[in-house]
Amino acid sequence: MTWSADEMMTVAAARVLRGDSRCFVGIGLPSTAANLARRTHAPDLVLVYESGTIGAKPDRLPLSIGDGVLAETADAVVSVPEMFNYWLQPGRIGIGFLGAAQIDRYANINTTVIGDDYAGPRVRLPGAGGAPEIAASCGEVIVVVRQSARTFVDRVDFVTSVGHGKGPGDRERLGLRGRGPVLVITDLGVLEPDPDDRELTLTRVHPGVTAEQAVAATGWPLRVAATMTTTEPPSEAELTALRALTGSQETT
């Protein structure tokens, strides 16, 4: 079977979710990946959506974070204030899955405005949503985003959600309790913060992708790990499950 770069990205994201995890899921690629994990190797994965559904077990891909299938199949449905205050804020959710319009070398995320002028932005994006507190409070954060020099920038125009700030110690100084982004999974490979200085480093490429391609798709001089690995290609089972979920040959 052949696969698309987006399919590889989704499969790679799904694989990092273990069965005993609780995952705070945003709509789009994160939701597809989390639902794929639940249908393949992690049937006990607890999906938590900011709409207030805890332990949803959708039998199809939800089309919004407030899809009826989430409420119908959840272990519990709580109000939105309760979700943020009782479940997210105290660190009960192990993994937060986030997307990004821009991400920088310390994995800080922008989903607010493109351009330097907040009041007169070049592009007005949707804004923060649940992301700042997901990034602050989940045990760890996984970012899923397509890689390009436009998206992977040296410094984000606006810090919507804090990754590793300006480097080591910044999260602790700010009083953020989760570990922050531990993986950035793209359509080209995987970046991880350097254990010492927290700068995102390419540690893995997907099959058929070279490190040079990833470097070229990054808006700063991307570090490449000394020992690079290559992602295991999607299995037939993974691709079949993914396509059954998305109802197509390609995820979008």
Partner: protein, 267 residues
């Protein structure tokens, strides 16, 4: 003291005035879209619109020129993309400049909680290290008097009018809703005046698992508007019209097609 059950046009005329702060809430589910379009039809102006997730109904209100300010945490067409009328207002001041006050979901939810609780502010772990605190005046540090730790305070939201959609009401104006309950209770209780549009009026609110009941005396007006959440949905009554969310992208993308849509609403 009991909420009066009146037609939608009458409820909007009674409750909403030019310059008011108005919150239409509903987290994906039970969004009071018909009430928003009635606000457009009545030509209200200068509103401060409050909503965690401005989506189609706020794109419509903004494009129609009802809004002077927007207080929000995520403005988009969920699962589709941008809100074109919102972007046109922010980027090009069309049809009018739109002042914005921007928060996170956690902050907005807690602002409603404070409003419903009769408190002037709420405390959360939020915004720390983000650029939001630089651009939004309604975010302030606060110190725990016991531990000395610094947290974040946000002021209560107490809209002049809070509007939500619900599944049903009884003849006393008691309202019942279930499924994803969002911030319905908070916005109704935080607002000086409130309006709930419902799918139907029933003789008795038979208990439903997961249902919330708001007593009629805690509301101002109830209007029966079947399908009043379309293209959002009312669990047990309708499904989300995902195609309409897609279609809105084309309708709203340019000013002319939007104005044609607007003429239809006002007709």
């Amino acid at each position: 003291m009991t909420a009066r059950i009146v037609p939608l046009a009458e409820a909007v005329a009674e409750l909403v005035h030019d310059g008011d702060t108005v919150a239409l809430e509903g987290f994906t589910h039970l969004i009071p879209v018909a009430a928003g379009q009635e606000i457009i039809r009545q030509g209200l102006r200068g509103l401060t619109l409050v909503r965690m997730t401005p989506d189609i109904v706020y794109d419509q209100l903004i494009g129609a020129g009802c809004a002077a300010r927007l207080v929000f945490s995520w403005a988009g067409n969920p699962g589709v993309g941008s809100l074109h009328r919102f972007r046109d207002a922010v980027q090009n001041s069309w049809p009018a400049p739109l002042e914005i006050e921007e928060h996170s979901h956690a902050g907005m939810a807690n602002r409603y909680v404070a409003g419903a609780s009769g408190l002037p502010f709420a405390v959360l772990r939020g915004y720390l290290g983000t650029d939001l605190s630089e651009h939004t005046a309604t975010i302030a540090p606060i110190r725990c008097p016991f531990t000395g730790e610094t947290l974040t305070a946000v002021p209560a939201l107490n809209p002049d009018v809070g509007i939500v959609h619900a599944q049903r009401a009884d003849r006393h104006g008691n309202v019942q809703y279930w499924g994803i309950t969002g911030v319905h209770k908070e916005v109704v209780l935080a607002s000086a005046r409130s309006l709930v549009t419902v799918e139907e009026l029933v003789d008795e609110l038979t208990p439903v698992p997961g249902a919330v009941v708001l007593p009629g005396w805690a509301l101002t007006r109830v209007s029966v508007v079947p399908g009043g959440a379309h293209p959002s949905y009312a669990m047990g009554y309708s499904d989300r019209d995902n195609d309409y969310y897609q279609a809105w992208d084309a309708i709203s993308r340019d000013r002319q097609s939007f104005q044609e849509w607007l003429a239809g609403v006002k007709a």
